[in-house]
């Protein structure tokens, strides 16, 4: 390159006033922007020490009990679940007394464990099948089935036969997933505060029916219809075992069901609540259908040979006004 060329380029490269003013303006703009952003984002206080509170609107659980149904209970004896379920319901005025045309029904089953129906650790698929069918017969527009399982949910619903029973009878299965949960606070409760609740399957439902088997449970004494609502909780719900009686009573306060169905056809007497062998089971041939979950569980305790005083949560739920522990006062209708 010639020397003269270089000089020419140097001249071109030299800063002139115009260019300098332009650069100053850009620099000034950048400084103002940096200052502005710092002002906008500056947080002199720092974050709160309290855990973040949920910003979404508080969710509420309505009263699902059927109008003018009152507190009543029917007990049917026999080994055929479909038959005992039907006759117990008939004794209470038929399914039509509870499910009306257009109702959206949720069946809260017990599908806690990946265990086959023969081991009775989960709600029997026959009861689910029959109940879905009956709800549709009464005119329900939708029947949902759900539970927040303890074992892998897919395996639980498959192996228990509940998935198949639901799908074949036209019900909708809601396998739990994280997006289904919303924090829920039960008024006057000590434990259920800002706690994840299995909400999506409940959303839009106007009738709620709990279906539970009768099972031995070392911590609670027995696992029946009230304990079954545990499956509506999410999060690290196991910490509630520290105060099992209070949490079960709070669950009974939280849910005002249309009906509870306590399937005592085969009761798990020992090794509960997982069971695992048919030797843990006893044929007790009883189907309890009630609008009073406390009374249903009090009756169920007799199938396990337990005293009501062995199950403090029954007394607690009764004192909280969830039902009566003296099930005889409901004059249960016995059908055989």
């Amino acid at each position: 390159m010639h020397h003269s060329d270089e000089t020419a380029i140097d001249t071109l490269r030299q800063l002139n006033r115009r260019k300098f003013m332009l650069r100053l303006a850009k620099a000034g703009g950048a400084i103002v922007a940096a200052g502005g952003l710092a002002y906008l984002f500056h947080d002199p206080k720092g974050p709160d020490a309290r855990p973040p509170q949920s910003k979404s609107a508080p969710i509420e659980l309505p009263d699902y009990s059927a109008a003018q149904a009152g507190k009543k209970m029917a007990v049917a004896r026999g080994a055929d679940r479909a038959q005992t379920l039907n006759s117990a319901l008939k004794a209470l005025g038929g399914i039509e007394a509870f499910i009306k045309k257009g109702d959206c029904v949720l069946l809260k089953v017990n599908a806690a464990f990946a265990s086959p129906p023969i081991l009775s650790a989960t709600t029997h698929p026959e009861v689910v099948r029959e109940m879905v069918k009956l709800c549709f017969q009464a005119g329900a527009s939708e029947v949902r089935v759900t539970d927040n399982s303890i074992n892998d949910p897919d395996s639980c619903f498959r192996l228990s036969g509940i998935a198949e029973a639901t799908e074949q009878s036209g019900g909708t299965l809601f396998l739990p997933n994280q997006r289904y949960f919303k924090p829920f606070t039960l008024e006057n409760a000590a434990l259920i505060r800002q706690w994840p609740l299995l909400y999506t399957p409940l959303h839009g439902v106007n009738k709620l029916i709990g279906i539970a088997p009768v099972k031995d449970h070392h911590r609670a004494g027995a696992s029946m219809t009230m304990k079954n609502w545990y499956g509506l909780l999410g999060g690290r719900r196991n910490i509630f075992h520290q105060d099992i009686n209070t949490i079960i009573a709070e669950l009974a306060m939280m849910v005002k069901p249309t009906l509870v169905i306590l399937d005592g056809t085969t009761a798990m007497m020992t090794n509960g609540p997982t069971g695992g062998a048919t030797s843990d089971l006893k044929q007790t041939n009883t189907m309890i259908v009630s609008t009073d979950q406390v009374a249903a569980d009090a009756f169920g305790a007799t199938l396990l040979g337990r005293q009501i005083s062995d199950l403090p949560y029954i007394g607690k739920a009764a004192s909280a006004g969830c039902g009566v522990s003296d099930y005889q006062s409901l004059k249960p209708i016995e059908v055989s």
Partner: protein, 586 residues
């Protein structure tokens, strides 16, 4: 149709097929889930898996026979697998294409020229095969899976890509998957892809031990690429898109040719390059130029590898208690002769309890399947044997449910134990903190439960009280330091301080700051000392029944370091690790 178009269609087809099999390796009953889809097919086509396991176990397991097809076709046609089938190779080719876009001829020619570094892959192959073959000391170690491209891409898609996709879209399984150490698995995968911007097909040309194996196999290939006649203008167009960097216009490196056919295609408009039985006019390098000295040094160095790794005592007294293997896994030394770290068992596990091992358990064990009971939706499911049935190399045997649970003809052998649970009494709520819990016992799926309970009443802290007044079921005590309602849970009782079975505890219904209401009228007298007691059920593990499924550890409410934890002690597969005496009697 032009042959390169056919090749591209084949590449896209096999890549999509591979990805589809990854998606289908999901546990479930839907049509797209594991329903007889040949999800291991690519692993089975991979002759490095087969050659490795032949050397280490002297057997060809089940579907691995498929690799014979690949071997035969390679001997006839050359490295077709690399250029036409390998899903990892297809990705490399695509990234290499991106990197080459807009580059000038000269740069392309430079990028695709043969490099000495391409010999590295043969040394990698020698290292892995010697490790798999040479029993120095205890046993051999199959480590091909670290760099074998099919297990590598399978692992990367299973454990890094799909979980990322699942975390932003709808999960394929019940919950988004979590795995420890995925950063490294995914990081290696991404690095391998990005290296294509430095040198196209970097991995294939320089690292890939499977490519090296194919390179050796193609030495006698019947048909091969080569110069057809001498009337060549040396325009070097044929070498501006050569995937294998085998220099087809010059003295071609047969072992490097991936059969991409870019040279044969319209690159050489005069058709001086062809695919035929005759030798190339410009001569051939039929084998990689490793040299006798290079091979000998590589062999000697490789022979040191396994003994060096095992100096940590990982297969002896220093075995790692965290290596809880899936049910049906072979004894650790046999396991390491087979596992190719493909991650199929990890992906199929319905509860996400199987995760790739970190190097914590030993370098050899890196990315092999171990159970992490804090991750996932539950522990190892009692009625599940999915992992053993998907394992392409039988490192986890395909056991039946009867075998797993020890039923019928397996009753004498008993259930398969993958470990044992231990209660940490310093962390357990009932043992350490006078707080009822027993979630572990409740969830134990074994029957009769492997976790049993010790029941006792414990006087709580500040629980020594003095009665001031008794009215019916109500008891007033001296002082005023009770938290109202605290003892109303149904787990608290009052008992005479002199104790003894003759003075049963009476359950507390409710309490105020100074008194209690009981379930029945007590016989306490004013001035008498009484104890405020909590009824505890404390969990203990019956080592003869525990199978190590870890459901207890998963459910334990002590959510950090769990108060009940499973370690590999007493596992069935390693009799050396037995705990109880009767286990040693065979």
């Amino acid at each position: 149709m032009r042959i390169v178009i056919v090749r591209r269609i084949a590449q896209v087809f096999f890549l999509l097929l591979f990805l589809w099999f990854c998606v289908a390796s999901t546990f479930g009953a839907k049509w797209w889930q594991l329903r007889g889809w040949p999800v291991n097919w690519f692993l089975e086509l991979d002759p490095l898996v087969t050659v490795g396991t032949i050397l280490s176990t002297h057997t060809i397991y089940r579907g691995l026979l498929w690799s014979l097809v690949t071997v035969v076709l390679t001997i006839i046609f050359g490295r077709f697998f690399c250029g036409w089938v390998c899903p990892f190779g297809t990705l490399h080719q695509f990234f290499g294409y991106l990197g080459m876009r807009g580059r000038r001829m000269k740069e392309r020619r430079a990028a695709h020229q043969y490099r000495k570094a391409q010999l590295i892959k043969y040394y990698v192959l020698i290292l892995f095969l010697v490790m798999a073959a040479l029993p120095i000391g205890s046993s051999v170690s199959l480590q091909t899976g670290l760099l074998d491209p099919i297990p590598l891409i399978q692992r990367s898609v299973n454990l890094a890509l799909l979980p990322i996709v699942e975390s932003v879209s709808r999960p394929l399984s019940a919950a988004p998957r979590q795995y420890e150490g995925t950063l490294i698995i995914g990081g290696i995968f991404l690095t391998a892809l990005l290296l294509n911007f430095v040198i196209p097909r970097f991995y294939c040309r320089i690292i890939c031990p499977l490519g090296a194996l194919f390179g050796l196999l193609s030495r006698y290939s019947v048909w091969r690429i080569g110069r057809v006649n001498m009337e060549c203008t040396h325009c070097e167009l044929c070498e501006t898109a050569c995937e294998g960097a085998c220099e087809p216009g010059d003295k071609i490196h047969i072992s490097e040719c991936l059969l991409c056919f870019n040279c044969v295609d319209n690159r050489c408009h005069k058709k001086y390059i062809g695919y035929r039985a005759e030798e190339s006019i410009s001569g051939e390098n039929t084998a990689p130029d490793l040299g006798r000295r290079g091979v000998l040094v590589a062999l000697a160095a490789s022979a040191m590898a396994v003994p060096m790794i095992r100096l940590n005592g990982g297969l002896a007294s220093n075995w790692h208690h965290k290596l809880v293997r899936p049910p049906g896994s072979l004894t650790e030394s046999e396991f390491l002769e087979r596992c190719i770290k493909c991650g199929q068992c990890i992906r199929i596990c319905p509860t996400n309890v199987i995760v790739p091992a970190s190097i914590e358990g030993g370098f050899e064990q890196l990315w092999t399947p171990v159970l992490n009971f804090r991750i996932g939706t539950s522990g190892c499911q009692l009625n599940c044997t999915a992992c053993g049935h998907i394992c392409p190399v039988a490192a986890i045997r395909p056991i039946t449910l009867k075998q797993k649970l020890g039923l019928d003809e397996f009753a004498e052998a008993g259930p398969i134990r993958i470990g044992a649970a231990f209660v940490d009494r310093g962390r357990c709520l009932p043992w350490a903190m006078d707080t009822p819990c027993i979630v572990c016992q409740e969830n134990c799926p074994v029957t009769p439960k492997a976790i049993y309970l010790k029941e006792f009443y414990n006087t709580v802290r500040f629980g020594a009280l003095k009665v001031t007044k008794v009215t019916g079921n109500d008891v007033e005590v001296f002082g005023e330091y009770l938290t109202p309602g605290r003892y109303a849970t149904g787990d608290y009782f009052l008992a005479r301080a002199d104790g003894g079975a003759a003075h049963p505890c009476i359950r507390i219904v409710s309490n105020t700051g100074t008194g209690f209401t009981l379930t029945e009228a007590p016989q306490f007298k004013p001035g008498e000392h009484i104890d405020l007691q909590v009824k505890l059920q404390a969990p203990c593990v019956d080592i003869t029944r525990c199978i190590g499924c870890g459901v207890c550890e998963h459910e334990c409410p002590v959510s950090g370091l769990r108060a009940i934890r499973v370690s590999a002690e007493n596992e069935t597969r390693n009799t050396k690790n037995s705990l109880t005496l009767e286990r040693n009697r065979v």
